[in-house]
Amino acid sequence: MTRGDMKNTDHPAVEKLRTGISSLDVIAKGGLPKNRTTLISGTAGSGKTVFAIQFLAAGIEQGEPGVFVTFEESAADIRKNMRSFGWDLAAWEAEGKLTFVDASPDPHIDTVEAGGFDLGALIARVDNAVKKVKAQRVSVDSLGAVFSQFSDQAMVRGELFRIASALKSMGVTAVLTAERTDDHGPVARFGVEEFIADNVMILRNALEDETRRRTIEILKFRGCDHQKGEFPFTIIPRGGVIVIPLSAMQLSMKSSNVRISSGNKDLDEMCGGGFFRDSVTLVSGATGTGKTLTVTQFLQGGAANGEKCLLLAFEESRDQLVRNATGWGFDFEKMESDGLLRVVCDYPDLSGLEDWLVTIQQIITDFNPQRVALDSLSALENVGTLKAFREFVIGLTSFIKHREITGMFTATTGSLMGGDSITESNISTLTDSIILLRYVEMFGEMKRGLTVLKMRGSGHDKAIREFTIGKGGMQMGRPFRNVTGIIGGAPMHVAPGDVERIWTQYDKEIERRRPEPRPTS
């Protein structure tokens, strides 16, 4: 249920509060249920406190004051820790948009328990704070820490229920955090937390193949709809929690019929007139087959047309790239000084894939290019798990398509001859076009072959063409007519006789034959 069609329903459904954390609102289908309590459970370091603060920060930024109840860290610590996310809590407090209820334990005060008690004072304080700033949002961090402050666990349980119902009667939307000991174990440590709140969300920070992978899952939303399953998220400075809602991204893709140049006239012809403007092309080949050249041509073609191009290079340094380009006769430095090219070089292992996705999205948003090339995807393949890698590619592909940017990714195949790569087999369905670059061994010589394997929505040349690399880039030659098994990685020379006779007729019609010396035997 979205907010839009609320009016048309007979039964009043649970209203949702747009949190302002845009990506969260997507998976929560509009936001958190309004005037209800939502439990955020996660292991240590899963981002609960950041989430709890961000929930308030996003509210304050859209004019909804908030109250932060802390049982764990002191208010002073939280103010300090949250500064790196760009949230100036002290300023908001001064403006009356935020107030703390500091219930963190004070180690300097000795407390003796002498008889039955309740947490009436805490509830009175929260109520007071909510009234003081006219809060619409409350975050409580964390429920588990309440247990550790008192010896009477049964009392704490009862009181937590009372707090939850008090929050509801205050008319606020609340987020309560809770610890869990295991990413895939019970919802929360004390076994009651999930019953206290109406809704439950789980933050995970699982270790898979030596890399950390953060995910968020909405486990239950009482009485309203949400997206199911785990969604990757990342926590970045000056942004906090950013959820990557994969399914939502795929839905919003457009499709364009405008053709643009690949930067190589022959390649354009093979692709039936060029790439589509919002398409993503995968260039796959072994090392040295000409992937970086294909990318360089693609960027040159964009710049020559006055389009802004972004190159994300994970394999070679900027200097190497510039030198390569110069060797082929392309002037990257001029393109850069003209403001038509930005080269971003970095080590792929520097951060996780979720972070890369967010970083790249930010660069694209800042630079606003018409073309984006990534060389190579394979370098990112080992940064995270296969699943994370796939999500990265889906995320990036849909992001650039959504902005009608033309994309080109490269993938390195493992073996020199033929074969495919993990990258290729995992993402080939996500890309619109695939160009294969292959070595072809012929009579003791390595030749290079190129074929357009797939071109979504367009006819294309099916031949495997030989090409040479020189000044000016790729020189496309004639197809390998008398060789079979190139793509399979086992090229076999076929006696020219029969093959040649069949093709000669065909050639006359559609091929510009250029005199080429037969390989001498």
Partner: protein
């Protein structure tokens, strides 16, 4: 002798007029009468009427008894039905106000 005669400054934080509040006040009055007769000052704060006081003192539980004087600051939470613990918390030796009291 100095310590024995020093003044006790006590504040009891309660929530409204709940049964627990009544029990706590009764217990405290009894204990004070027995042990601190004539040398204590007691203030009772209802957190529902005065939540800011609870905020300033960072009180979570009610009832909470705070001993401000003599130092050190001490807190006792609960309805004060466990007299031994209350005295322990307040650092009052039982019977100290009546040296000849029967123990």
């Amino acid at each position: 002798m100095e310590g024995r005669l020093s003044k006790y400054l006590l504040t009891l934080y309660v929530t409204g007029t709940s049964p627990r509040t009544k029990i706590a006040i009764e217990n405290l009055n009894r204990i004070c009468k027995q042990e601190l007769e004539g040398r204590y000052e007691l203030e009772i704060v209802d957190v529902l009427e005065n939540p800011q006081r609870a905020e300033d003192e960072k009180i979570l539980a009610t009832p909470t008894l705070i001993k401000q004087l003599p130092p050190p600051l001490r807190r006792v939470i609960g309805d004060l039905s466990d007299q031994e613990k209350v005295l322990l918390g307040l650092e009052v030796r039982p019977g100290s106000s009546k040296p000849s009291a029967t123990i």
